[in-house]
């Protein structure tokens, strides 16, 4: 029969499942995170196979990259507060009560049955069933962009995308709220080679991020992928300590967090005139407006993701680093 690619697909799918199992079962938390990042990258590869390059880019940059960085940062912090930094052991602040094997087994069987049910339901679903294909194809000429995914994200379902940026805003507000009074774990010294690498990588990352944003109008890429890559610039700056967040920068940071949401929502409201409803961009300006929104959203995403990585709101460290009011 067969396409040799089927062998590749099966192997990749098995590897993905195996990595998921391994990430959950490996003892060492650092190994867990590394396995998870590899899992994310292979998932992205699978999505390339399924002709979803946009999703693959987003997953690789955000799902694997930024999430992995967040997890590593947290692990570093946990090891620092528990005094196990530099030791091989897990951080072990709270000793974990061992679960009886019976409970674990029962849970596993329960989830297994659910998964089986879902698999049966999936196999029963119409393969390559109905979809939005025809509707999108019909509406694309009126969207102002040439790349369908960007058209969906920023025009047809722009409301969803606005709310997604709102979720990001809610996250950074919540993180700043939650982490007040948490003192920073000392950043590790990474040495000359690392600094040299960062000097090389910084400009390249800026270029790649901007390119991804720009190219989104006609090819895979766009605000989210570009924003995530630019967030990596922020991570590099924070890790090399080329930039140290200062309390006086809070105002600018807040402005950058809300920039995307604000501009997006304002544009959506202001276009509603002359018989148009909210989010209905006039065709002759659609491309400009979408690019404007994408640019602002990219800035917000980049700054927000970097801030989520940094965590704590930069406050003046007084009273031994605590302000619990």
């Amino acid at each position: 029969m067969t396409d040799p690619l089927v062998i590749f697909d099966v192997a990749l799918a098995l590897a993905i499942v195996a990595l998921a199992v391994a990430a959950l079962s490996v003892r060492d938390l650092f190994a867990m995170i590394v396995l998870f990042v590899v899992f994310g990258l292979l998932s992205a590869l699978a999505w390339v196979r399924l002709s979803a390059p946009d999703v693959a880019l987003a997953e690789a940059a955000i799902g694997a990259g930024v999430t992995g960085a967040l997890l590593l940062k947290t692990l570093h912090h946990l090891r620092y507060v528990s005094g196990t930094l530099g030791q091989q052991a897990a951080y072990g602040v709270t000793p974990l009560t061992p679960v009886p094997i019976g409970v674990t087994l029962a849970n596993a069987i329960f989830c297994g049955l659910i998964t089986l049910g879902l698999a049966v339901a999936y196999l029963g679903a119409p393969a390559a069933g109905p979809g939005f294909d025809a509707l999108v194809a019909e509406a694309m000429p009126r969207s102002g962009v040439d790349h369908p995914v960007t058209g969906v994200l920023l025009n047809f379902r722009a409301y969803d995308t606005l709310m997604e940026v709102v979720v990001l805003l809610a996250a950074v507000v919540a993180v700043w709220q939650i982490e007040r009074g948490v003192s920073d774990a000392p950043a590790p010294v990474l040495g000359e080679v690392w600094q040299g690498f960062a000097r090389l990588a910084l400009p390249a990352t800026v270029v790649v991020g901007t390119y991804l944003l720009w190219v989104g109008a006609e090819a895979p890429g766009g605000a989210f992928q570009g924003g995530a890559v630019l967030a990596a610039v922020g991570l590099l700056l924070l890790l090399t300590r080329a930039y140290v967040p200062q309390p006086t920068h809070r105002g600018i940071a807040r402005g950058a967090f809300v920039l995307g949401t604000g501009v997006f929502a304002l544009v959506a409201l202001l276009v509603a005139s002359g018989g148009r409803v909210a989010f209905e961009y006039p065709l002759e300006h659609a491309k400009t407006l979408i690019l404007l929104i994408e640019g602002m959203v990219t800035i917000s995403i980049a700054v927000t993701l970097a801030a989520l990585f940094h965590g704590r709101e930069p406050v003046a460290q007084t009273k031994g680093g605590r302000d619990d009011t």
């Binding site: 998870f36 987003a58 799902g63 528990s82 974990l96 989830c111 698999a119 393969a127 379902r157 919540a174």
Partner: protein
């Protein structure tokens, strides 16, 4: 055996594995990771649903939805991790 079938089952399996982890994992960090696995599983399902046998191009709407889902998930992860960091700092203070 078509790619959508293979990866669809793979996605369901990943979702199930994530579910086991979310229910069983003791460690706080591992539970966050398990939830992230669930979200990747759900992403697989949507991407697979969008797949059309070439030369037809896939349906872009689910792709956009998955991108939204990925960004939403990273936000939720960040909040959960911030909670863990704060909580673990406080608990470490207690022990001292």
């Amino acid at each position: 055996m078509t790619p959508d079938l293979i990866y669809g089952l793979c996605g369901v399996a990943v979702f199930g594995i994530g579910l086991v982890g979310a229910l069983c994992a003791q460690d706080r960090l591992r539970r966050v990771l398990a939830l992230k696995l669930c979200s990747v599983g759900a992403g697989f399902l949507l991407v697979v649903g969008a797949w059309r046998t070439p030369p037809a191009t896939p349906d872009p709407v689910p792709h956009a939805l998955v991108i939204t889902g990925i960004v939403v998930m990273v936000s939720a992860t960040a909040v959960a991790l911030a909670l863990i960091r704060r909580l673990q700092s406080l608990e470490a203070d207690d022990e001292r």
